[in-house]
Subunit: 137 residues, 2 copies
DNA sequence: GATAGACCTTCCAGTAACTAGAAGGCCAAA
DNA sequence: TTTGGCCTTCTAGTTACTGGAAGGTCTATC
């Protein structure tokens, strides 16, 4: 069985060495085995685990959510429905964020369209920002 | 001219007292005047400034960007074009975020659609997360 | 054997933008 | 006078890392 130092694992997984140590320190992943010189060593299995973490993080799951997914992953008796529940909740979060950002984009766009953008100081964007309260609260 | 205590300003602007103090401590807004008992007091003008900050934050400008906008707001010789540049850059940021989130949503949705979500342990979501590297890097 | 460079270790601090809480002062009303 | 609510400052926690310092280790080269 091949073993890897932290730098090699970082290169393989796309998770930086710093971040791997950080994940270990927070308990997201189990403590790595150590060589006689104190260096961390990782098995294929440990690398696989980190890859799982990376994929889930790339999909926008929070570190806490990844922890939950890892527990389900490790649990032979897990129910598919539980994982699906997490994923659906996550999807809803994403959709809320998209909605909020689209509102933001529209407002910002409108503001920009009103602005002549010239060499003069009168600026509808600043005027709007400074305008009376309650306009959109 | 009416003066307000920090709590009243918080109620008027929607910015919490804690956050107002925080903005002062970071230099985003100038230090408030003080009453003889040491309490902060705010003029209409100061309230107006805070309202500006709130609106810009609500539009998703970072605190640093708000600082730039405040400087332009205060600057009688400002050019409308400069403000517009900030706003356009901000709009582009928002659009990038929306694109990234939409990709995320699509991937997550596909994952969920593949999952039967039943009482059995086999789960395509976990399998996908654990799958071979390089699939989407 | 010495030394250089790349790698590893730990620990501390900083990022963004607040928020929570502790400990205590001030003020108005009953 | 005491109660409650507001105000003050200071410290620390949040999320998910990242940067840097100080130092040990390994490998290759001279």
């Amino acid at each position: 069985m091949s073993l890897y130092a932290i730098g090699a694992v970082a290169a393989q997984t796309g998770v930086s060495a710093k971040t791997i140590r950080y994940y270990e320190s927070t308990g997201l992943i189990p403590p790595a085995a150590r060589a006689s010189n104190g260096y961390r060593v990782y098995s294929e299995r440990a690398v696989h685990l980190l890859r799982f973490v990376k994929r889930a993080r790339d999909l926008g799951f929070s570190v806490e959510q990844v922890g939950n997914l890892l527990a389900l992953w490790a649990d032979e008796k897990r129910e598919s429905a539980e994982v699906k529940k997490l994923a659906v909740a996550h999807l809803e979060e994403i959709e809320h964020k998209i909605d909020a950002l689209q509102d933001l984009r529209n407002t910002t766009r409108t503001l920009i369209e009103c602005c002549h953008g010239e060499d003069r100081p009168d600026c509808p964007i600043l005027e709007n920002l400074a305008s009376q309260p309650g306009d959109d609260d």
